[in-house]
């Protein structure tokens, strides 16, 4: 089971690279949806069966795999944009940076003081690498939708870390985090629409005109 979980985590890491490397927004959204579904399956592989676990799995797959991608897809269609052009940092440099960060996070995770039963998993390095990927996307992309995608990947990274604790984590915290994400995406969806209506573009660097003088 653990080897299967590790293989899935490798898949998660690959999806990180896909979203770092692609300029097509729809493709990026689908990749993140796939990542969400994988994350939904993971808890079932590493923890013994319980109804709590079933609940988590169903809600995670539902929200991350279907609801949020649907909302984002609608935002992309209504804003009529297909590609992220002119990011602040090109695709190849971000891919390279992503690779460097992934390598660093493996190195870093190896030195963390962890419980012995967690040592052999790939969870912690994968989590940190995904976090970093999220940050990279957030900082280098210009379009508001890419920013939402970055935010989602960032949250996935946090979720992977939380998997280690799934047994101990109270339902309320999980529900809170998920709700946070859902509302966050929802608000971003509205913001995206407003930005595109106001500036007839989704370029977040135009938002500088909103800052307080």
């Amino acid at each position: 089971m653990i080897s299967l979980a590790d293989q899935l985590l490798v898949l998660v890491l690959l999806i990180n690279f896909i979203s770092l490397g692609t300029s097509r927004l729809i493709f990026s959204i689908r990749a993140v949806a796939a990542q969400g579904v994988i994350l939904g399956i993971l808890p079932g592989l590493i923890h013994p069966f319980s109804w709590h676990l079933v609940g988590i799995t169903v809600v995670i797959i539902g929200v991350k795999g279907f609801v949020i991608p649907q909302m984002l897809g609608r935002a992309v269609r209504s804003a009529e944009i297909k590609r992220e052009v002119e990011p602040f940092l090109g695709y190849v440099p971000t891919l390279l940076l992503g690779a460097v960060f992934t390598a660093l996070s493996f190195g870093f995770a190896g030195r963390l003081p962890m419980l012995p039963e967690h040592h052999n998993y790939m969870f912690v390095p994968a989590s940190i690498a995904t976090l970093m990927t999220g940050f990279l996307i957030l900082t280098t992309r210009r379009k508001a939708i890419s920013q939402v995608i970055g935010y989602l990947i960032l949250d996935n990274g946090i979720f992977i870390f939380g998997l280690l604790l799934a047994g101990a984590m109270p339902v309320m915290v999980e529900a809170g985090a998920l709700l946070d994400l859902l509302v966050g995406t929802f608000v971003m969806g509205i913001v995206i629409n407003q930005i595109s209506r106001e500036f007839s573009s989704l370029d977040t660097s135009l938002l500088t005109s909103l800052k307080e003088e």
Partner: protein
Amino acid sequence: MFFALQGILDPGLMVLVAAIVVGCAGVPGLFLKKPGTGQAFAAVATILATLAGVAASMQLLFSYTTITYVLEWNLPFGPCELVIDPLSAFFMLPVFLVSAAGSLFALGYWPSAEHRTTERGLTFFYGLLASSMAILLMARNGVFFIMLWEVMALSAYFLLVTEHESNDVRRAGIVYLIATHTGTAALFVYFSLLAAQTGSFLLPAAGSLSALSPFATIIALSAFIGFGAKAGIMPLHIWLPSAHANAPSHVSALMSGVMLKMGLYGIFRTLTYFYDPPLLWGAVLTVTGITSALFGIAFAVAQRDMKRLLACSSIENIGIITTGIGVALLGVSSHNTTLVYLGMAGALLHILNHSFFKPLLFLGAGAIIHATGTREMNLMGGLGKGMPRVALLFMIGSVAICGIPPLNGFVSEFLLYLGFFKQLKADSLVYLVLLAPLLALVGGLAVIAFSKLFSSVFLGTPRSPAAAHSHEAGLTILVPMAFFALICLLIGIAPQLGLHLVSPAITSFYPKLASTELSVEYGAILGRLSLSGALLLAVAVVAMFLWRWRLGKSPVTSAPTWGCGYKRGTARMQYGASSFSELAVSVFNGIIRQRIGRPKLTGLFPGAAHCSEVPTETILERIIVPLFTIAGVSFAFLRRLQHGQMHLYMLYVFVTLFILMLWAH
């Protein structure tokens, strides 16, 4: 009635359910399409819940019981206890009564048909504010307390900015937000230190901490800042006048009548933790209290805006209550039980009284604003002819707030005076006697402020067309006012009832006072007071009938008020509100600092000219705003970090995280 309920229902549960019902009363209105239904539903639900809640809290109060519930919450802050002890039950009374009266008043004052866009939010947050305060009184877990405190503060903010199209309202809202969050920051310090002392977030039991430990002073100081900012004790009152003036009137009534008291409740609760408060604490409370009372009422005298005047008088009343608490605390430190009893009884009874006459006055102000469309007293006049019932009720409120017998304001101040004069023969703390003339000065200034308010609004001839066409308020406005006026009269005529209400709360504050000797002794004194009050009322009634009878016998001609035989007297010849208080204000000119614009008159026949006197918010405009400006200028370089580039903001987070990770390595 409520003793019959004892067998059927658990009173603690009933209070809890009532609080939740009040909180949810505005929810259906958010979804109903038809205007008015939601508002009417909210009013009915709130009144029903209040009947249950008041009955249950009275029962808890009189039976001296403490009820404990534990809320199951999966949060890592320890158990969440909900406790209703007599002190909580006592504060529960105004919460329920004022919110019920306000929600009924809203039907006439802020009808859904005219204010469709704002009414829904107003009704919802009104319930939420009342409910959060009721549950706050039960909360015994620091974290839960802070949560409710924030719900309370924020729903008050949303109520306050109901008319956010106006610049003044938005400014008042921002000042309020800054003030309340400064207070909350102090409360974070307070609860963290308490948790550090006791090892859990549960509030400490009564008398379980020593005031001599080094942390105790910081705890007391942060409680004073945090709770005092909410209560509006003098240097921390900056948000109060503009907030109360700009909120809808029933909201001002709830804020002034009840929300300020939550700050006082916090102070009370904090003081119960310590078994040996030093003299200094009592002295600080007494001095700040009497200062607030004096300056608060001095500011009130200068105001031109009716609701600002009422708000400043709230500062005064909070000051009087704080003085009472301070005196009681001095009594605790010096083991003088009489002083504790009188200070406590005066403070608690004044809390109750203020939460009746101040809402009465704010609701009256609402009725006047509803009729004339302005808050400026210089534009009113002669309203007594158009709205005699409102005028009568408003007068009862004014007399009560000035502390004139036979109304309730007198009773609580009388208890404080008794306490001060008792010190004449005492061995220590003799100088407390000096508070008596100060309190008398406050009372005198209050009479000036309220005779200015009443006379410029209701007497004389109308100073503007709107004031000339005033109309009597409807039943939904009059009934809540009449209700408060009745309670004011009842406590004034039968002060023993008030003493009965406060005794359990005093006992829970200072358990050594459980012996009934003192309450019997002062009950007897108040009994004589009650007799003379009744006599005074009877004389007043008889005099009024005699006057009516004489008036009926002789022919009556009517002429404009202050006509004084002038052929063409105009309304502008009468004393205006500002001119009435001119002399009193000039005495306090060092503190009040009016902005006066006087025209230069030249020649024998000067042309039209304009004169204005605007009272300023001394502390806000002379101290706080300049301080904020200096801070703004000196930290201007930090603004370069805020450039509006979203991805660079993300980079800040990223870099911080990275540095933290490296550091942890």
